[in-house]
Subunit: 644 residues, 3 copies
Amino acid sequence: MLGVCYYPEHWPESWWARDAAEMAALGIRYVRIGEFAWSRIEPESGHFEWEWLDRAIETLGAAGLKVVLGTPTATPPKWLIDLYPEILPHAENGAARGFGSRRHYTFSSAVWYRESARIVTAMAERYGESPHVAGWQTDNEYGCHDTVLSWGPEDLTAFKGWLRRRYQTPEALNEAWGNVFWSMELASFDEVELPVRTVTETAPAARLDYWRFASEQVVRYNEMQVGILRRLSPGRFITHNYMGFFHDFDHHAVSETLDFASWDSYPLGFLEKFPFSEQERTRFTRTSHPDVPTFHHDLYRGMAGNRFWVMEQQPGPVNWAPWNAVPAPGMVRLWAWEAFAHGAEVVSYFRWRQAPFGQEQMHAGLNRPDRVRSPGGEEAAQVGAELKAFGALPENRPSPVALVFDYEASWITRIQPQGKDYRHEEICFRWYEAVRRLGLDVDIVRPGADLSGYSLVLLPSLPHVGEAMLETLKTTEAVILIGPRAGSKTRNYAFPDNLAPGPLAELIPIKVIEVASMRPALHAVGGEVSGHAARWREWLETDLPALASFEDGGAAVVATDRVIYCATWAEGDLLSEILTTIALPKAGLVPVDIPDTIRIRRRGDLTFAFNYGTEAWTIPDAAAKRFLLGGATIAPQDLACWEG
Amino acid sequence: MLGVCYYPEHWPESWWARDAAEMAALGIRYVRIGEFAWSRIEPESGHFEWEWLDRAIETLGAAGLKVVLGTPTATPPKWLIDLYPEILPHAENGAARGFGSRRHYTFSSAVWYRESARIVTAMAERYGESPHVAGWQTDNEYGCHDTVLSWGPEDLTAFKGWLRRRYQTPEALNEAWGNVFWSMELASFDEVELPVRTVTETAPAARLDYWRFASEQVVRYNEMQVGILRRLSPGRFITHNYMGFFHDFDHHAVSETLDFASWDSYPLGFLEKFPFSEQERTRFTRTSHPDVPTFHHDLYRGMAGNRFWVMEQQPGPVNWAPWNAVPAPGMVRLWAWEAFAHGAEVVSYFRWRQAPFGQEQMHAGLNRPDRVRSPGGEEAAQVGAELKAFGALPENRPSPVALVFDYEASWITRIQPQGKDYRHEEICFRWYEAVRRLGLDVDIVRPGADLSGYSLVLLPSLPHVGEAMLETLKTTEAVILIGPRAGSKTRNYAFPDNLAPGPLAELIPIKVIEVASMRPALHAVGGEVSGHAARWREWLETDLPALASFEDGGAAVVATDRVIYCATWAEGDLLSEILTTIALPKAGLVPVDIPDTIRIRRRGDLTFAFNYGTEAWTIPDAAAKRFLLGGATIAPQDLACWEG
Amino acid sequence: MLGVCYYPEHWPESWWARDAAEMAALGIRYVRIGEFAWSRIEPESGHFEWEWLDRAIETLGAAGLKVVLGTPTATPPKWLIDLYPEILPHAENGAARGFGSRRHYTFSSAVWYRESARIVTAMAERYGESPHVAGWQTDNEYGCHDTVLSWGPEDLTAFKGWLRRRYQTPEALNEAWGNVFWSMELASFDEVELPVRTVTETAPAARLDYWRFASEQVVRYNEMQVGILRRLSPGRFITHNYMGFFHDFDHHAVSETLDFASWDSYPLGFLEKFPFSEQERTRFTRTSHPDVPTFHHDLYRGMAGNRFWVMEQQPGPVNWAPWNAVPAPGMVRLWAWEAFAHGAEVVSYFRWRQAPFGQEQMHAGLNRPDRVRSPGGEEAAQVGAELKAFGALPENRPSPVALVFDYEASWITRIQPQGKDYRHEEICFRWYEAVRRLGLDVDIVRPGADLSGYSLVLLPSLPHVGEAMLETLKTTEAVILIGPRAGSKTRNYAFPDNLAPGPLAELIPIKVIEVASMRPALHAVGGEVSGHAARWREWLETDLPALASFEDGGAAVVATDRVIYCATWAEGDLLSEILTTIALPKAGLVPVDIPDTIRIRRRGDLTFAFNYGTEAWTIPDAAAKRFLLGGATIAPQDLACWEG
């Protein structure tokens, strides 16, 4: 189903009814509203103005639309900040980050926690049982604009409390952080400082704890909102809209109390955000890289209940990337169908109409500021019509491949990358890309998730392997492909006693005795599989034979019957050979031969194919297929769907 | 005529008389002094020491030289800053920018305004009617070192007052800034914050207002100085020395109360400041790009009275660019004659003698620190001799081409460039270059300037088209060539109701329905004209046929009989074809065929030609010409002047 | 002899004895301990816990090892910072640099000076006469992490006092700094501000004085520690461990009270720190550039007594460079022998065992965290065995070539580089490299050092030539090769009255009348010598003939019988020709023909050769030589030593 994000407060009330009617006509079912409207709901402290919002909800509901209400906590109004300036977050340099945009709060502020509860309660009391309200979105894009980590006095106070609860004694803290190093030992929790603004780097264990603390605050804050909404708005779903390529808090933990995750899909903007090569960025400037949207679909589908929404879908150029292309014709439709193919329940466009004012005035909508449908709106309308004809989509089924994605791993490798271009998000994405290029479906799961039923499990980057994770690896029957640095850190950011891969040595008999990060260059490796490595190399102590070796004879890939270890950062060619020659045969999986700009995906008993390239692609054995969308030949930026 | 900048306070008094005599002998008529001498004039609060300056002026006057007195407000002395630290400007991060260099004041400080009036009054009372004083320079290089915008408490106070006067009610302010967006609404002017140090970007309308406010403060501050000088120094001219490639305040508005504008011409330094390609920078490293000095001559000639001075002219290497070349032999002479060709009344070198100490000790002068004439000084002496032989230069006449240059346009596109390489100064300069390469003279005019008499009007970048501007465009008979983004914003930084080009739709029937900023790459366009486009592209709704189209068929250039619209950032090849194939024929103008490093310019009934290249150039039809300078063949870094 | 850095406080006490035994077995003689152990020695104010350290020293001593004790002042503990927060240093932006890593003190703090004296006294009282303590290291790596210059209130107070003592009157200060420029004159020392956080650059003379002040504070602080140790620990040596490519204070001045200098040699890390080309960095990624370790050996050998130690030697990958390679097999051994060849008394590895926790957990040691010897440890053991067989090394003898290295020159050219890529450290290193490629040994000496006995003296970069320096140049009989900018500044950062080369005009009759910094490009020069120049060019007034000229005829190299002046930044090809064609013949020196990755060095009557390349090298005339290490052919990453 389709949805849309709408801001009635941005438009004359006289426009609302026509807007609602046009939404319904386009095939839209859900309308998200309210998430930035605090100053209109409560224009001064304690004085609420609900009537306009009552009328807006009523107008939408009258047109047959369902409302998703956003709690307005992403934008505390000026009067609240003036009353309680301690709400403001602080930058790494210690300066307050002021009022004038959005997300100007720290999760550490007790006052803010209380005020958030107050406004959420008020809103839920007013609309919690409205027949037009289908569900809730908590806040908006937690962490956007670098707002998970804040570095001010409120944060220090909260961090001290967190540490006190976690460690009980300063001795335990000193031990955990390795504070004997450089005489950093503390005699009491009062002596703790924020791990920032020091002469050189602070203890990595301290920084990891600060990140955990900050992440847990997001979890706790979201739980508070969810608790209020569950109580006052029974039967409605609750979700939050996550972002792309953003890992500053543990989304799995936040999702535990949600009904499902949502995310905001801006494929073209993300092309500039992720460290793609300039060549890739230029090549895919108007389509995005084929794995950008789907990596996130598969990630967020794994958050809660095997369900997800796209809460905000790019309908045209955005305003926030270094360059903002117009999507190639067809892409706005393609992205929507692709989301459905990956299991989305709803694709909701951001936004109904481009705002002619404000920070995002260059962000397209389904409609132009002059109330005419935009090119993207036309494509959305086509999707609306096609959906109507299509009927219900089948249930999501598990994929044959699971990729374990760990937020803490991102923090660990960002805290001490050891090599300047060693990036957690990059290695995870490239492994995902490698499997998707082989036509296989992937579930992205959290560490400790049940791995039974999978044929192949990928661990591209998992420096800290917890007990639950280890247990699932030991019990799964899947083939396991492990990337570099796995098991190299304990919970307290230290070397395991047995060196890397730490507890994974139970799975594969190796020991990492030396590691190098490598300047940008390709290093040939050869053997049963061959290709190139870069960035990272480990020296192994093992009796296993090398399946691929560096030119000096050092092992690059080793394997047991069921477990494969890659002791380097495998480039695409090597990774592809590891998969096709070693991992897939062991796992009993067969790759599908597709061009590098074609992607296929199964949902239930349907198969979808999408063309991100510049050439048409003809599906093999097309004659035997029953097509529900498209046909044997898929034009660039087009798609097909067939049974089976 | 020639001038020079001199600092008697830097030298033993015993040197002054010989200096003055050598100036006169070199052909110098005007000597600017005093603009950094506050600590010598008033060494402690209220205690003035005029005698040294009396003697300096007397010495210069006795040698037949005319003095231009600079008010010393660019360098408030330490005791004043210690008395009133609130004078200091503040950086964007909120930190005070301290004493120890120059321009350490904010225009927002009421105390500073008062103290400035006090020192200017004292100086004008002392020297206002001196027979040796020909005129005044207010302050020095307003805005240098990023000092127009200041971000401190004094600035916030002044900004609140400015907003109160402008908007009267907070409701009007909220409406103008679009504060409903992201709950940014304010209940009173007291709630206003500086649009800085926020979590993400602030309202573009707020930032534009802050820039207007800051610019108006420069205007008001300069008016204050001018008012005092007019009153106490009757009959003397008043000017200010502007800078190159600097657009942080509205120079047209500041110039309204000046007799003429001056500017400080450092062609080699500017080569590093403007976003030239590395290839251009290397090619022109010792000459500067041929349009750098003249773009500014033509810009500043348009400020007031069709007159201008070069107040500071580079005489050798400077000290402030990343690399500081020695001008190629001949360039110090060439730049001076080129300034005269473009209408300069006086070319004044900075500085008489290189200072052996202080921040600018690596900045050349006409003389070396050891009192010997420098290589640049030798070339200046040649100019002095040539000027003597040359006699009076004819009056400036209007050019056939007007280029509209708008300072606010610079602020608007810097506030939201939307594409990382979309730069107002670059598109304006490249359009100027394109016309100058065709041998045509250009006047650079402000929006709303009278356009009658011009054959061709260029609007390279004008996002906000005000009423006066529109009126002149509607009434001129000139052909009008309009660049992208024209008319795309209202006064309050919003989309016009009819979308871009807003009011210009009265001139040409188009509507911009979608825009893209494009990653660095060249995009071919073809049709009646062809070439390449980059950086920016608009999709037009129009019935006009495309004169050039992108490869997907989208229009790049459309035109009516009299108005041409370029819906993209035209590269040099495309721009040249638009001019030669469409614009000039419509305008009845004929280009002159010159190599790309030759420039020609007419002043009255004289024509000048300048050779920035590495090859000699022979003037066509030279036999028929009467040469006043040079002859038929112009050597590299040389020039010629002929009648007609 | 070999040494090692050890942190007993990082390990269970039960491990110490085995560690000590293994050290001794490996051939280690010296063990440095204690320099980061303050929080264990004095866990709260005034409460000392010596017993653990007593036992550690006893354990080491019992194994026959000698202890080098580090004073623990690089890491003041938290309780001390909480008592006296004014100890903290301040960044250029004015913010305090907080507790949580190391070197969090400013040399300006009187409290810190007192507290440092207190802990050093306590430690020296305890261990000063211990039979196991062979010597002391003061503090650790002065200046590391940019800690020489601090920018806070304590620093301003100290700086004012320093200026008062130096200049006596504000008039003298104003004169020295050229404060008449830009009205910067001060009426009293109270008006002085730190030369930072201003609108644009501050007076270069002020910045140079601030650097001198800061450097002198390091000298004074070290003298304080040395004074205490001399008194309480008679007969023990005192040293300090300097760093690589670090010039923020005057190491010569600090060394005056030391017995010898030490330094910390991390050849692979330094490859990323020095401005090598990317090509060089990639080529030498696992060996380092062949002149990186030896430049420092030769520099630090020149500090005190013609002796030096390597206090920390890289034994494997480090943790702090952008990329951290594993040394090529053989390099850990090669670097040690190379240090001995250049005169090192001791090569001490950092560290005994890799720490599994803390900031440096990715820094290799001689042992792995799991108590197994690392690959680097194996090579160290080989060195230990070879040393045992080798017997005593001969005395260091003077080299034929002296290179004058001046720390103040680094400050001067960093304060006003005038060209963005003009770097003091780079020109000095490249001149050293050029001579070393010719097989000649080099002593690096301070300005004013006795130059008698040298055949060739190099002055690559010496903008300020003091009287002592001038005197040694006038009295030496060596050939002198002078680089650009020599003698261009007075002590007060001004032009000398006679222009550059100032006092050096007594040696060679030239005057620099104009200078250019040049954009990146190679400029051909030709004549008796030829090659390329870049970055910097001077125009000379002289009657000397040009030995090489630029294409426009300007002189690039001139010479008298004994003095050669290079008026540009000579690239390697030109520099090599100047040396082989002009300088060496004049000096009577004969270059040795070696490949560019081979280096040779004589110690006493022995010659060593080292192979940094990828090809084996066969020594000419090898049959005639008696080899003590290796043989006629040196494999890559191997070495040889022969008599004669």
